[in-house]
């Protein structure tokens, strides 16, 4: 990093980042868990079929049992307002705030965040987002193609890339390299590409690493000193971290264990996650749209007898990620998970298709940021794994370890 930025006053009063009111009912948390997956769901009665909102604990028509069902996400705007006065610290920072009431095609009426272009009687598409506190939030946008990013209220629910500064933790592996290229192409002001040692002669001539608005930096997530030095060298604003570091190896527990590989997998996936997260958390927390996006193997969900050490390290990483998400909620930093299966890369030379191109993972990660989606699965293997895990985790764990 060049030292062109003027030195900052470390004691200057910083702008506090607030989040919207956070308390919710248990039923609302169940909606948030599904919103985090990008699903548009509402409760519907298992007996009379009526969809209901806000979340309840019994059907208001027949008192039957409710469950969560995917629903059509269209609706008609019934009324609108611009809130100009609020006692809440978060919303006071964003006045006026447009909200409205929508009659959902699914049946119920809902209060929604309202896109600037929408008026009463307009048709709208309602997106199930998560707000800065991580809770499900309905946002009505005009039907059809839109420049959503020009609406400042929309930007509160997503992570813009254009004009932002991002760090890719390991740009030497295939996902990381693709990620650098993707973020640069999507208009990031600067992509800092972390390179674990040893450095290669080709680093200085690599077509991606030498792109305009890309800078390399030595970074080894297994080494706390390296992580601290990287943070110190970046120094200034940092909006987005893409944690692409991983150590993919086969091997079991008692059969063919490779303890050196297992230990390395934990150092990269689990301890590496913690080193990165703890070091960079304060930098992300100071930003208006801070985000930490983590690339995980879907093996984290269930364990995997064929690559036991890697799967265990990824499971530990998933567990740490959820704790980190909890810690960052109060600062409004989005902590996102991208699950993927085997990739078209040197790590998976021995695996038959289907495999996912690294560029596709990178593109999905960028889309996840731009849509503020907390959890994404890329590729058939990861999508299938998540579906099976959500449906019957005990069966899925058994099948993956038969």
């Amino acid at each position: 990093m060049t030292g062109v930025r003027e030195k900052r006053d470390p004691l200057a009063r910083k702008k506090l980042r607030h989040v919207p009111p956070e308390l919710r009912s248990r039923a609302m948390h169940a909606l948030s868990a599904r919103a985090a997956q990008g699903r548009f769901v509402l409760q519907a009665c298992t007996e009379c079929g009526t969809a209901t909102y806000p979340p309840r604990d019994a059907c208001p028509l027949c008192w039957g049992e409710l469950n969560w069902q995917d629903q059509p996400n269209g609706g008609k705007i019934l009324s609108e307002t611009s809130i100009r006065v609020s006692t809440d610290l978060y919303f006071r920072d964003h006045m006026p705030w447009r909200m409205g009431k929508v009659l959902l095609d699914a049946g119920p009426v809902a209060l929604v965040h309202l896109h600037a272009a929408l008026r009463s009687n307009d048709r709208a598409v309602v997106r199930m987002m998560t707000d800065r506190g991580g809770n499900a939030a309905l946002f009505a946008i005009p039907a059809g193609e839109n420049d959503l990013m020009s609406d400042p209220q929309w930007r509160e629910f997503v992570v813009p890339i254009e004009g932002r500064i991002a760090l890719v933790s390991d740009a030497r592996n295939a996902i990381g390299r693709a990620m650098v290229k993707e973020l640069q192409a999507r208009g990031a002001e600067l992509v800092v590409a972390g390179l674990p040692g040893p450095s290669l002669a080709s680093d200085t001539t690599d077509a991606v690493l030498t792109l305009d608005r890309v800078q390399t930096i030595p970074l080894d997530v297994t080494d706390a000193t390296s992580v601290a030095q990287a943070a110190s060298r970046i120094g200034g604003p940092l909006d987005i971290i893409l944690n692409t570091a991983r150590h993919v190896r086969t091997g079991g527990v008692s059969a063919n264990p490779h303890f050196a590989e297992q230990r390395r997998a934990f150092e990269v996936s689990a301890m590496g996650f913690s080193r990165l997260a703890s070091t960079f958390a304060p930098m992300l927390a100071g930003r208006p749209n801070g985000a930490f996006a983590d690339i995980l193997s879907s093996a984290a969900l269930s364990g995997d007898a064929g690559q036991a050490g890697f799967a265990a390290a990824e499971a530990a990483r998933h567990s740490l990620l959820q704790a980190f998400r909890h810690e960052m909620r109060g600062a409004g930093v989005r902590v996102m998970a991208l699950f993927t299966g085997p990739l078209e890369d040197t790590d998976h030379q021995h695996i038959p298709p289907p495999k996912v191109a690294p560029s596709r993972v990178a593109s999905a990660a960028a889309d996840a940021l731009l849509n503020g989606r907390e959890q994404t699965c890329v590729g058939d293997v990861a999508i299938d794994a998540m579906e099976r895990w959500l449906t019957d985790p005990a069966l899925f764990a058994r099948e993956k370890n038969l």
Partner: protein, 390 residues
């Protein structure tokens, strides 16, 4: 379908109490409740032993319901009720206490609503108001009731052709009424121009459409005519009452309230018509709700409230004196006591014990309540017709 409502025989409503409101108070709801009882002792000589029924309403009594307040204030009632319906609590307390007295479950019931207003207590009570509000309303801009009623007002204005000027006329009239009430927090005359020029709060709701939260207490006594007589009190009888909760849940927007389900029964039971009413005391958290009650209580046909407002003088000397103490919009909104103000003020006018100017020859008051925005609308409604007993 419903059976005929039994007449409220042997019931007297009397002794309206208003302890002067304060914008902010460091005292508790219990303190305010105590002030009202003290005023009852000072004005009519009531002692704890005389009170065998107690009906309490409050948002800010903390851990205590009517139970805790009973012991706190040294009451030993044989009939106790706690009413959680805010703006509808006055009418509801009235009808419950009346039946208790009529049936002999109690001889003298004090109905009392007290709320304090600490600095920042408005924000704090908002965030914990109801489950639906916490889940699905306040995270959308945290505009509080202003935003909820902005959405209702927006729909209502478009649906029925009501203008801001129409709402302004209601607010200006209520402010004029507040002018003679020494206890009203806002008495400075309001012009329609000032109303129209006020800053927007949550469009189309502007500053003078909003009530001012404050601390205060309202109370009244329900007892037998014989007991009222012994105490030397002027009294009124209850002609009829109605109550409804969660009316018209299928309406996507609240353009009508529960009164629309029940007001025919109200007039039929009372044997009078809206034109017989001398003064109208209705819940006025926002002028749109005043307009809605005027329609739904039958003072004009649904959808014609704009013309009705334009043709009617709502001041104390006018053809339909409305919220003659200034209403919550001018006198202040003391939480649940705001839902009692309509009863106490209606009572005062027909007993000819006004705080300010007297409605000439008033003998019949219509009182209406509206309470508790749980999600996107007020859930509780009630109304009562009171007539002075001479």
């Amino acid at each position: 379908m419903s059976r005929t409502q039994a007449a409220y025989s042997g019931v007297a409503v009397c002794a309206p109490i208003t302890v002067p409101y304060q914008r902010f108070s460091a005292e508790s709801a219990h303190w305010w409740a105590g002030r009202a009882l003290r005023q009852l002792r000072q004005t009519i000589g009531l002692r704890a032993a005389d009170i065998d029924g107690f009906c309490f309403s409050s948002f800010s009594s903390g851990l205590d319901t009517a139970v805790g307040v009973t012991q706190h204030l040294g009451l030993t009632p044989r009939w106790l009720d706690h009413i959680p319906t805010g703006g509808a609590s006055g009418v509801m307390a009235l009808r419950r206490a009346a039946r208790a007295v009529q049936c002999g479950d109690a001889d003298l019931v004090v109905c009392l609503a007290a709320d304090t207003n600490h600095i920042d207590s408005f924000r704090q009570s908002l965030s914990g108001f109801s489950r639906f509000s916490r889940d699905a309303v306040y995270p959308y801009g945290f505009g509080g009731p202003n935003a909820t009623f902005a959405l209702i007002t927006d729909s209502y204005m478009r649906e029925y052709g009501v203008t801001r000027e129409d709402f302004g006329k209601l607010c200006v009239a209520q402010r004029a009424n507040a002018g003679s009430n020494p206890l009203a927090l806002q008495r400075k005359p309001l012009t329609l121009d000032a109303y129209m020029a006020a800053r927007p709060i949550a469009d189309p709701v502007h500053l003078f459409d909003c009530v001012m939260p404050c601390a205060g207490v309202e109370a009244f006594v329900v007892t037998t005519p014989e007991q009222a007589e012994r105490l030397g009190l002027k009294m009124a009888k209850i002609l009829a009452t109605i109550e409804r909760h969660n009316a018209f849940p299928e309406d996507p927007v609240q353009l009508r309230g529960g009164w629309a389900m029940d007001s025919d029964v109200l007039w039929q039971t009372a044997g009078i018509a809206p034109s017989d009413v001398d003064t109208l005391q209705i819940y006025d958290d926002y002028p749109v709700i005043v307009a809605m009650q005027i329609e739904d209580l039958g003072f004009c046909p649904k959808g014609q409230v704009a013309q009705f407002i334009r043709a009617t003088d709502f001041t104390i000397g006018g053809d339909l004196p409305l919220n003659t103490n200034g209403g919550q919009l001018s006198a202040g909104q003391a939480g649940a006591a705001g839902g009692f103000q309509n009863v106490t003020e209606g009572l005062r006018q027909i007993l000819h014990q006004p705080l300010g100017d007297q409605v000439p020859n008033a003998s019949i008051a219509a009182v209406s309540g509206f309470g508790l925005v749980n999600y996107d609308r007020g859930v509780c409604t009630g109304a009562a017709l009171l007539e002075a007993l001479s």
